[in-house]
């Protein structure tokens, strides 16, 4: 781990009985970046997040945050972290106002005005009981509480799960504006790939507990391309192009290439005497589907 890393996960394994939920995952989250961890349901994202914030002890490996062991120094570290959990865990009988004042007593650094402003912006009343709020409002309240400590690290565990488009946008807008203001390091797990695509600097994909991808967003998007050509069988290997997936359609072929660059593509084209080929960039969602598995389309 270097000083630039806010979070370092080293060979972390999480087990539930004989099931391995996270298998020897190693990753680093650099200061000031937005780190998006993607994965299908059951890939091990939530287990990883629980270990990341010191709520669960991994079976093996170590998690450090700001250079300190998160399991042993959790209480101290949580002063610097804002968390929006996957399921809003605040007591349902508490009013939003009571929740805010409770958190105000807990944290040494607390910006009550910021909470009030955000709640006003989200149109959530302070006297509303938390349990009576909609799912979106609950997430907004949790986000407002997490932001009120001016966190150095913001952990968002699937923050848009179950939210409609408007609520999703409002939540991401809030994060983006905070990032713009303060450059908070953000660790986010989400299914909302479109939303996170504009936000994330770094992407990792967790598949069946294994980290199958972990790199900068720009680099990722630069090396993944979709290539379509009319021939049914073309040797992509001729240009040293690695395929993440190959699909036959009509008389042609669609291949997702994971190490695209112009030189390699020209080498491939000259080697195969291919007259026509469409090369198009891919969205994060398309890359995710190609990497996390074809069955993910369902």
């Amino acid at each position: 781990m270097t000083d630039t890393n806010v979070v370092s996960i080293d060979s972390m394994t999480v087990r539930y009985g004989r099931n391995v939920a996270v298998d020897a995952v190693t990753l680093d989250v650099r200061r000031g970046t937005v780190y998006a961890l993607l994965g299908r349901n059951g890939a091990g994202k939530s287990s990883l997040v629980r270990c990341l914030v010191g709520q669960q002890k991994p079976a093996r490996g170590r998690v450090t945050m700001f250079g300190e062991d998160v399991w042993t120094r959790r209480t101290h570290l949580m002063e610097r972290v804002g968390i929006v959990p996957e399921e809003a865990d605040a007591p349902p009988e508490m009013t939003v106002g009571a929740l805010a004042s409770f958190c105000g007593e807990i944290y040494s650094r607390w910006d009550g005005n910021a909470v009030r402003e955000r709640l006003a912006r989200f149109e959530v009343k302070a006297d509303a009981r938390f349990g009576t709020l909609s799912k979106g409002q609950k997430k907004q309240v949790m986000l407002a509480l997490a932001m009120a400590v001016s966190p150095e690290l913001l952990v968002l565990d699937d923050p848009t799960l179950g939210l409609d488009v408007v609520a999703r946008k409002s939540l991401f807008d809030e994060v983006i504006s905070d990032l713009a203001d303060r450059g908070t390091t953000t660790f986010i797990t989400t299914h909302d790939l479109a939303g996170v695509e504009a936000l994330a600097d770094h992407v990792a994909i967790l598949k069946d507990g294994h980290l199958v991808l972990d790199e900068e967003m720009e680099a990722l998007k630069a090396r993944f391309r979709r290539i379509r050509f009319p021939d049914a069988s073309v040797a992509l290997a001729a240009g040293n192009l690695r395929t993440a997936s190959v699909t036959q359609w009509g008389g042609g072929t669609e291949a997702v290439v994971s190490n695209y660059d112009d030189v390699a593509f020209e080498r491939f084209r000259s080697a195969t005497s291919l007259t026509h080929a469409d090369v198009s960039p891919m969205s994060l969602e398309e890359i995710f589907i190609a990497v996390a598995g074809e069955e993910a389309r369902s």
Partner: protein, 631 residues
């Protein structure tokens, strides 16, 4: 601290509706008092008793509910992450939630209890058997805390739905079994203060174990319910096991006390001189009083535990030790000073000295404990026992544990013994009423086979039975200082010895030796089998004492107190007297002999067990005067 208070305050606010419910419950005793069938005179009683019942019921139910939910619910509903995602330690979460639960219970108890108590405090104590409010509150708070913690542990285990619950049940059984095995021996020997102290130690330890386990559960299990359960279980059972182990080791240490570890309160040497009973509180072991049977030949000893509260003694011939011990200790056994004579049923223990490994429990129950071993006689072959108590004489077969016969006693029974295996002889005093002196002494024989009670002799006016021979042929009676040698069965007078006798024995020759005390001076007087005076041996200052024959036809041992203290060996002198020549052979100062001084039979051994002024035990050879320390 701020965070603990914030969590406690949050939980308290969440449960504010409970206080409203408590206020409604507090009204129930008052509403009950308004019911039409309640008389005006008893309305105070209804309110006071109702207040106690409602407050205890509500508090305990609340403790169970809160215990089952104050952490367990958050765990199972995955809400504990709300706290763990904040800079709050596991200890702060646990203490904050616990404080809130305890305060809720305390306030609810106050709300339900105080209104009825304040209004009816004058009739409160009499209605509740004099229980003080403070002791009731303490007992309730302790019980409620225990229920809260037990419910918390149980709730965590059940909510996790882990197969580990089966292991928890096994370990619970092991702990309960351990507590039982630890406390039972103390209960069996009626060391009730120690029983209470060790019990309280275990209870406090177990409460502390659950408190620590609750914190450990949150510190190591955090938001994972199964891990939370496993951490709770691990810490709870390790702590509980350690507590029970410490208590068990302490109890084992208490019971490891040997004869040298006790302050001797009572000691008796048997008629054969080869065994002794030692009794006294063990050093630094609370109220544990040990009774030991010590074999004086080989130095081995055994604990005679059942005799903790009974009085242990040897049989006439000295071949068995007998004790009656309470069957079931009641409240009065908590405080030795409060023992009410005759209130407890007892059970009889007979330890055969020729078979020390045999079971002493006869299985025979007695109506009282206070009758003690004075009302018990064993046949010479140790096959039968006669018990006289509460106006009833019963004879049991020891090997079959069966009642052979019983008969209603005309009066009390004294100096009871088996004249033959089938005949029990006893002496009884005739008293016109309890306040007056007896007017006559009677001899009875009860034939077990024919179940017939027969008066065989009588002496009027009354004379105390001083001594009788082992075979029962001769009895010595004391009629205002005059010793009457009489037939043991009929009390027909053989001869009388005028004087101021305080003690007398029949000599092996058939003669009589008496200890007379006159004007503060003691004299041993020796007579032949016809009552002819042989010798007077002056002993010097004496107020009372005893005499026994130690070498047939030659020597006597006289034990004389120079003052009235029974307990203090200071002031007791021992004399070895050659009564053939009428001279004192040896005088030992400040020694107390432990053997009985009323028996007319001769101890085969010449080694007597004596204690000195510092209660140290010695073997003392009456002929040579050589003393060796016993322990």
């Amino acid at each position: 601290m701020t965070r603990v208070l914030a969590i406690a305050a949050r939980d308290l606010r969440q449960r504010s509706f409970v206080f409203t419910a408590a206020a409604f419950m507090a009204a129930i005793p008052f509403l009950a008092a308004l019911l039409p069938y309640t008389r005006w005179s008893s309305r105070g009683d209804v309110i006071s008793v109702g207040g106690v019942v409602v407050s205890i019921g509500f508090t305990y139910a609340l403790a169970m509910i809160l215990g089952g939910s104050f952490v367990g619910r958050d765990l199972s509903e995955r809400r504990l992450s709300f706290y763990f995602s904040k800079p709050v330690s596991a200890a702060a979460i646990w203490v904050g939630k616990l404080v809130a639960a305890v305060v809720t219970i305390g306030l609810c108890f106050g709300i339900t209890f105080l209104p009825s108590f304040l209004i009816t405090r004058r009739v409160w104590a009499p209605n509740l058997s004099g229980i003080s409010p403070a002791s009731m509150i303490m007992a309730n708070v302790t019980t409620a805390l225990c229920l809260l913690l037990v419910a918390h542990a149980g709730s965590t285990m059940v909510r996790s739905r882990s197969p580990r619950v089966a292991l928890d049940l096994l370990l619970l059984c092991a702990v309960v079994g351990g507590v039982w095995l630890t406390l039972r021996p103390l209960f069996a020997v009626r060391a009730m203060r120690l029983f209470k102290d060790v019990g309280l130690f275990i209870l406090a330890g177990l409460v502390l174990s659950v408190l620590l386990a609750g914190w450990w559960q949150l510190a190591k299990g955090r938001t994972e319910i199964r891990r939370s359960h496993s951490e709770l279980s691990r810490s709870l059972w390790i702590c509980a096991g350690a507590i029970v182990l410490i208590a068990a080791l302490y109890v084992a240490w208490v019971f490891s006390a040997g004869p040298r570890d006790i302050d001797i309160k009572m000691g008796t040497q048997n008629a054969r001189g080869d065994w002794m009973i030692l009794r006294g509180p063990a050093h630094h072991r609370g109220d544990y009083e040990a009774i030991f049977l010590v074999n004086l030949v080989n130095g081995r000893w055994m604990r005679f535990e059942p005799a903790r509260w009974g009085i242990a003694s040897f049989t006439r011939r000295g071949d068995a030790a007998v004790a009656i011990s309470p069957l079931r200790p009641g409240r009065q056994w908590n405080e030795p000073g409060r023992v009410t004579p005759g209130q407890e049923r007892g059970e009889l223990y007979v330890q055969r000295l020729d078979a020390p490994a045999s079971d002493a429990d006869t299985g025979i129950q007695t109506q009282t404990v206070w009758a003690g071993v004075a009302g018990v006689a064993l046949s010479d072959d140790l096959s039968r026992v006669a018990i006289a108590e509460r106006g009833l004489l019963s004879v049991h077969d020891l090997s079959r544990k069966a009642l052979l016969a019983s008969v209603r006693l005309p009066m009390g029974a004294h100096e009871m013994f088996f004249a033959s295996p089938d005949v029990v002889r006893f002496y009884s005093f005739e008293k016109p009423d309890l306040q007056q002196r007896p007017v006559a002494i009677h001899v009875y024989e009860f034939d077990v086979r024919s179940r017939r009670l027969q008066q065989t002799g009588e002496r009027r006016p009354f004379a105390f039975l001083v001594s009788n021979t082992a075979d029962g042929t001769t009895a010595l009676l004391n009629e205002r200082g005059t010793i009457i040698a009489a037939d043991g069965r009929t009390l027909a007078e053989r001869f009388a010895i005028a004087g101021k006798a305080r003690a007398a024995i029949v000599l092996r020759s058939g003669g009589v030796a008496t200890l007379d005390v006159s004007d503060g001076n003691g004299t041993i007087r020796v007579f032949d089998a016809r009552g002819v005076h042989l010798h007077d041996i002056a002993l010097g200052r004496a107020v009372r004492g005893g005499v026994r024959e130690i070498v047939p036809g030659k020597k006597l041992l006289a034990a004389v107190y120079r003052n009235d203290s029974f307990e203090n060996p200071r002031g007791m002198d021992l004399f070895v007297i050659d009564f053939e020549r009428g001279v004192i052979e040896r005088r030992e100062h400040e020694l107390q002999v432990l053997c009985g001084m009323r028996q007319s039979d001769v101890m085969p051994s010449l080694e007597y067990i004596v204690t000195d002024a510092s209660r140290q035990l010695w073997r003392w050879n009456a002929l040579t005067g050589v003393r060796t320390r016993l322990f």
